[in-house]
């Protein structure tokens, strides 16, 4: 937040705080690839969300007569073994995958970031204690946990989010904690302490911007991980059940027949990859734009 960065002629009446975010948006807009990614992600979310109305076929409509057919005019992306239209299934699967990715990542973010920052900032015995708790949680057998949750709560979609998010925050917490341990020893934090700033102000206004880069990058890495974990859980029986599907499940099914029906792997793979590319491009651009020291515009 160096005031020297701010072009006084553009934003003469802003406070320093506002102009920093304004500047960040300016810098983000300069990154054309990031804007393309953003537009793509928004469009994709909308298309998947309204799949019920725009999809060419019902997602569970089987056509055993044609079976697995390669892409054609009637079925742009071809059909699967049971003759179901792949494009339709991708659109519906996108609903599940995007929702799982977003919600579970939010859960892991909301637990992991405050936990890691608090642990790192307090340091000492508190840090040791909090990190041992993380160690213990790491070792709990995830498969067994999922089976028990399924027995207790039944097949509940919301539970899937909670279960995934509750596992994914651990690494996030450890990484943030490591960063905070290093940042809090820098001189400007010492200065903030000497100035008598409140703890929450130091944590949120001075430490948070300096670990934001790591947070954003790890968040964009968590989303694909969560989407694939969802495929694994669905495979175990918790979560998405056939005939419903998700991207992870479609890719998994496609991988099994990649030699005989390659399009069943290629199309879900491409959609999944392009989404992740866009997400990560956007994440990197956001990271660059929000970096307080990154002066290149």
């Amino acid at each position: 937040m160096k005031s020297s960065e701010i072009d006084a002629t553009v934003s003469p009446v802003y406070t320093i705080e506002e102009s920093f975010h304004d500047n960040a948006w300016q810098r983000l807009k300069m990154n054309r690839l990031a804007i393309v990614s953003l537009v793509f992600l928004i469009l994709l979310s909308i298309i998947c969300a309204i799949a019920t109305w725009i999809a060419p076929y019902p997602y569970d409509l089987q056509n055993l007569a044609i079976g697995a057919s390669s892409p054609s005019i009637r079925h742009w992306f071809g059909t699967d073994i049971l003759g179901r239209d792949l494009l339709t299934r991708l659109l519906y699967g996108g609903q599940i995958s995007l929702l799982v990715g977003l919600c579970a990542t939010m859960v892991s973010l909301l637990i992991g970031v405050p936990y890691g920052m608090f642990s790192g900032y307090c340091g000492g015995k508190t840090d040791a204690f909090m990190m041992r708790i993380v160690d213990i949680l790491y070792t709990l057998p995830f498969t067994i946990l999922v089976i028990i949750l399924m027995v207790v709560f039944g097949r509940n979609f919301l539970l899937l989010f909670a279960a995934i998010g509750a596992v994914e925050w651990l690494t996030m917490a450890r990484i943030i904690r490591g960063d905070v341990l290093a940042v809090k020893e820098q001189t400007f934090i010492k200065a903030a302490v000497v100035l008598g700033l409140s703890q929450s102000r130091i944590i949120f206004r001075h430490i948070l911007p300096n670990v934001l880069g790591t947070i954003i990058v790890y968040t964009t890495l968590t989303i694909p991980k969560v989407m694939l974990l969802e495929a694994f859980l669905s495979f175990l029986g918790l979560g998405v059940q056939p005939p419903m599907s998700s991207w992870g499940l479609l890719i998994r099914d496609g991988a099994e027949v990649m030699e005989s029906h390659p399009w069943l792997l290629i199309f879900p793979g491409i959609i999944f990859s392009v989404t992740l590319f866009a997400l990560n491009r956007l994440g990197d651009a956001l990271r660059d734009a929000l970096d307080p020291r990154f002066n290149k515009t």
Binding site: I148, G178, T220, N280, K296
Partner: protein, 306 residues
């Protein structure tokens, strides 16, 4: 330093105790038992087996009995694999998973760090986009896609490697790439991000002004601080990677530990699952201790108390 290490090593004891306690009762909560499978044994046989393995005692008694055995270093018998103890299973499978994990980690670190550094040196140019796109491919192609794909191309079409198995030295290559690609992507992106944060700092300019070579500036000055998030990530990642991957071991038919984790959970092989988790927990705590030591070495200003 010695005191720190000693205290942290002592902390393994309560951590293991809590892990054992939670897991012990947690797996008993799951429905089904080790001998309730599709073969439908007569109840007398199940009764007899339960008695043999001491599964008829009250739970607290079983728990105390198990704890006593663990203290003696005996992790108990396997319920599914007759005549084998959990200790034997770990002794047989861990070295394989460990070797595979090490190769995968070396591959991931080399690729990830090089890509991350190159990308950070020239942000938003082709030199940034191409390595990052390559790294992202590692995430987009999950193991159950990448593994069969590599087998298809390098094993069957080009005939360079065996499609599966764990006999020759070259058998390590495809599984290591399959297992390591995701980690390479994580390392590349984490290191790019933190390198970008470190490179504009004053002390890097100072190092350049002193006339240090570019390589020295990057490796000795910048990377040492930029590696902090990567190192934090590596602790749990390494523990996960050397205890095996179910998917990779299944695809390449490797007799490793990852398969044991999943089959033990599904077969309700109580002692095997508990034993594996105790082993994993010990490894994880030890690795996180190493991570904390490395963090302090990378940045001596960091203070960590035990």
């Amino acid at each position: 330093m010695l005191k720190f290490v000693a205290r942290r090593l002592l902390q393994i004891v309560p951590v293991l105790l809590i892990v054992i306690t939670i897991t012990f009762f947690l797996i008993r909560l799951a429905p089904g038992g080790p001998f309730t499978d599709e073969k439908k044994y007569p109840p007398e046989v199940i009764e007899c087996r339960n008695a043999y393995y001491g599964l008829n005692d009250s739970l607290p008694m079983q728990y105390l009995h198990y704890l006593g055995n663990v203290v003696k270093g005996n992790l108990g018998p396997c319920l599914q694999y007759r005549n084998r103890t959990v200790n034997e299973v770990i002794k047989e499978t861990f070295p394989i998973s460990f070797e595979l994990g090490c190769w995968a980690m070396i591959y991931a670190l080399a690729l990830g760090l090089v890509f991350g550094i190159i990308a950070a040196l020239r942000p938003n140019t082709l030199l940034d986009h191409i390595p990052m796109a390559a790294a992202m491919t590692g995430i987009c192609l999950p193991a159950f896609v990448l593994g069969p794909l590599l087998i298809l191309v390098f094993g069957l079409w080009l005939g360079l490697f065996n499609a599966s198995g764990w006999e020759m030295a070259t058998d390590r290559i495809l599984p290591a790439i399959t297992l390591g690609s995701v980690y390479a992507a994580y390392i590349a992106r984490l290191s790019r991000s933190s390198m970008l944060e470190i490179l504009p700092m004053d002390y890097i300019r100072t190092a350049r002004a002193k006339g240090a070579s570019e390589l020295r500036v990057i490796v000795c000055h910048a990377l040492k601080n930029a590696a902090i998030p990567v190192v934090s990530f590596l602790g749990p990642a390494f523990a996960g990677i050397v205890t095996g991957s179910f998917v990779v071991e299944t695809i390449f038919q490797i007799p490793g530990m990852g398969k044991m984790f999943v089959t033990a959970a599904f077969n309700r092989d109580y002692f095997l699952l508990l034993g594996l988790i105790v082993f994993y927990a010990g490894l994880l705590v030890a690795l996180n201790l190493i991570v904390d030591i490395v963090l302090v070495w990378l940045n001596p200003k960091i203070k960590i108390e035990a």
